[in-house]
């Protein structure tokens, strides 16, 4: 689905990504973890084609990213950035409808398909009742759901999220990640996301990529990536890794004092 080969990228003479290579297979729930500044956001921007100056190649479905027209790419891949501007008082329905832009002729009004896609997306997120509310009046959790409905309405096979849950409470975070899980398992979407919460990453993702200073430290299953040696070195802290008795996934416990 997505193949990243030998990416070198940076900003103003500072190299952020060094020789990064990995694959994302179809129906993966792919998590990218690492310290702040390790290059996670940069990586996402590269394979969403928002950052165009890099060395190396990105292939989407065996086609080089550079050869895609922007509207064509927008129908294959959708991207939810970390911060979204929701300062204009559009209604929720209008706001989600913007996602259909790649499908709309610029001079035409939305078609029946566009309306259906928006309604389906909002139904999936359980926000149909918010349809006519102004996006400026919503709570944090509601805004996040609206943003996710927006990428859903774009109806792409690959959805990329940049830290979708970093600012949410644990309940909201679990809800959102469960929603994304449903998207992945029941609707066959390939999901790529960056996370700060290592445990959420271990619990929900089937593959992880640990970035360290712009290099690929480790890429594989959560059990392979979330080992205490790598985590301790990358994050410069002390941890213990145990197994969640219910899901058999690894979870990472911080250690405050060593006796």
């Amino acid at each position: 689905m997505i193949q990243i080969k030998n990416i070198y990228a940076g900003y103003f003479g500072r190299e952020v990504l060094k020789n990064v290579s990995f694959d994302v297979k179809q129906k993966d729930f792919f998590g990218i973890i690492g310290k702040n500044g390790a290059g996670k956001s940069t990586l996402l921007k590269i394979f969403s084609n928002l950052l165009k100056s890099y060395k190396g190649d990105v292939f989407i479905d065996n086609k080089n990213l550079e050869s895609f027209k922007s509207k064509e790419l927008a129908k294959r891949l959708s991207f939810l950035p970390q911060y979204s501007d929701m300062s204009m008082p559009f209604s929720v329905f209008e706001f989600v409808m913007f996602a259909r832009f790649p499908y709309m002729n610029m001079f035409k009004f939305p078609s029946k398909n566009d309306f259906k896609a928006v309604e389906k997306a909002m139904d999936f997120l359980n926000i149909t009742n918010l349809s006519e509310r102004k996006i400026t009046e919503l709570s944090g959790g509601e805004k996040q759901k609206v943003l996710i409905a927006q990428v859903l309405a774009q109806e792409t096979d690959i959805i990329i999220f940049d830290e979708p849950t970093s600012h949410l409470d644990i309940g909201s975070q679990n809800n959102i990640l469960k929603l994304l899980s449903d998207l992945n398992e029941k609707h066959n979407k390939t999901i790529v996301l960056t996370l700060h919460d290592l445990n959420a990453a271990g619990e929900f993702c089937n593959k992880l990529l640990l970035l360290e200073d712009g290099f690929v430290c480790r890429c594989g299953t959560p059990e392979e990536v979330l080992n205490y040696k790598d985590i301790e070195r990358v994050y410069n802290t002390t941890v213990i890794v145990k197994t969640n008795p219910i899901s058999n996934r690894p979870y990472v416990i911080p250690v405050s004092k060593i006796n």
């Binding site: 921007k45 969403s48 084609n49 928002l50 027209k69 922007s70 509207k71 064509e72 790419l73 927008a74 129908k75 959708s78 991207f79 950035p81 979204s84 501007d85 300062s87 204009m88 008082p89 559009f90 209604s91 209008e94 913007f98 996602a99 832009f101 790649p102 709309m104 610029m106 001079f107 009004f109 774009q154």
Partner: protein, 332 residues
């Protein structure tokens, strides 16, 4: 829901516009009854009345409508692109440039030579300020704050040059410039009308149809590019078209404030924020509002006709007070 708003914009507003249009036809320095006015439109009736109606009033009213439509529509476009509810057609410096051009025309005496020199100079002045803001604003990646800053700088710089000219000049050109600056429809060169009307109508149709593109731009760079939108190219084109519209209208009629600022806010209460609806609504709303102001300007101190720009400024002040009171109430 979409249909109700569409009916409002494309049926109700034009009807209102027509009504005010005919009302305005009957008002002026000489009282003319509605029946006489209507028949004069079709070249029937008294010679004098026909001349007044067709040559003077009709042309003025059409000009007022086009100006109001352009100001309303372009104010709406700028507010969306700059993501600033205080933006108006003159935020990006056009008024300074036009004022400079017109003042040069008056003070140098060119204006007395031929009547079309003033709008010509004003247009070039406006074009100069647009060009300057374009260079600064689009140097790197588009940033709405940098654009606004460039517009403010250009406006102040050009205005101070105008002030300098006023201070150093002895001629009556200064007084003429002041009159021009406040914006009025009493004196304008008719020969320019076909150009202004054509540019206005074509430009406004294009802008009205570009509502979706403008909205996506306001989602921010990352999101709009992720939706397959070439943000740099689209903003440049929209900016140039809008600036051309404003420059052509301002060159002929002077600077009329507050229409471009107020109308989008008012219309937003009726049709919502989506540009696809708000731009055409602001176009009709602007035409309607300015026509009302212009008619008022003939009535209120009759028989003296005060510049329409004065009426819009007064109403603008009242509007702002109202907005402030409403904002204070909602924040309590």
């Amino acid at each position: 829901m979409l249909n109700r708003r569409m009916i409002f914009i494309y049926v109700l507003m034009p009807i209102l516009l027509f009504l005010v249009f005919f009302f305005s036809l009957t008002y002026g320095l000489s009282g003319i009854s509605l029946i006489d006015a209507l028949s004069a439109l079709f070249n029937v009736g008294d010679e004098n009345i026909i001349t007044i109606i067709r040559s003077i009033r009709l042309k003025r009213i059409i000009m007022v409508c086009v100006t109001g439509a352009v100001l309303g529509g372009s104010g709406c476009v700028f507010q969306a692109i700059l993501k600033n509810p205080l933006a108006d057609p003159f935020t990006l410096g056009i008024s300074g440039g036009a004022a400079l051009g017109a003042s040069i025309a008056f003070i140098s005496g060119f204006a007395s030579v031929a009547s079309f020199f003033t709008p010509l100079f004003a247009f070039f002045g406006a074009a100069l300020s647009v060009f300057t803001v374009y260079i600064f604003g689009f140097k790197g990646k588009f940033d709405s704050n940098i654009m606004i800053l460039s517009g403010v700088i250009v406006s102040y710089t050009f205005s101070s040059v105008v002030m300098l000219m006023f201070a150093l000049s002895q001629s009556t050109g200064v007084q003429q410039s002041f009159m021009w600056l406040t914006g009025n429809f009493s004196t304008f060169d008719e020969r320019l009308m076909p150009f202004v009307v054509t540019i206005g109508v074509v430009g406004l149709v294009i802008l009205s149809l570009s509502g979706n593109i403008i909205d996506v731009i306001s989602l921010g760079r990352e999101k709009s590019e992720a939706l397959g939108n070439n943000i740099e190219k689209n903003i440049k084109i929209i900016f140039l078209i809008t600036s051309l519209l404003i420059a052509s209208v301002v060159s002929v009629c002077g600077i009329i404030g507050f229409v471009g600022l107020m109308i989008p806010h008012i219309m937003r209460n009726f049709v919502g924020t989506r540009s696809m609806l708000l731009i055409p609504a602001s176009v009709f709303g602007g035409a309607l509002f300015l026509l009302l102001c212009d008619t008022l300007s003939k009535i209120v101190f009759a028989p003296v006709v005060i510049p329409s720009g004065v009426i819009t400024s007064v109403l603008g002040g009242v509007f702002f007070v109202f907005l402030l009171l409403r904002a204070k109430k909602s924040s309590i």
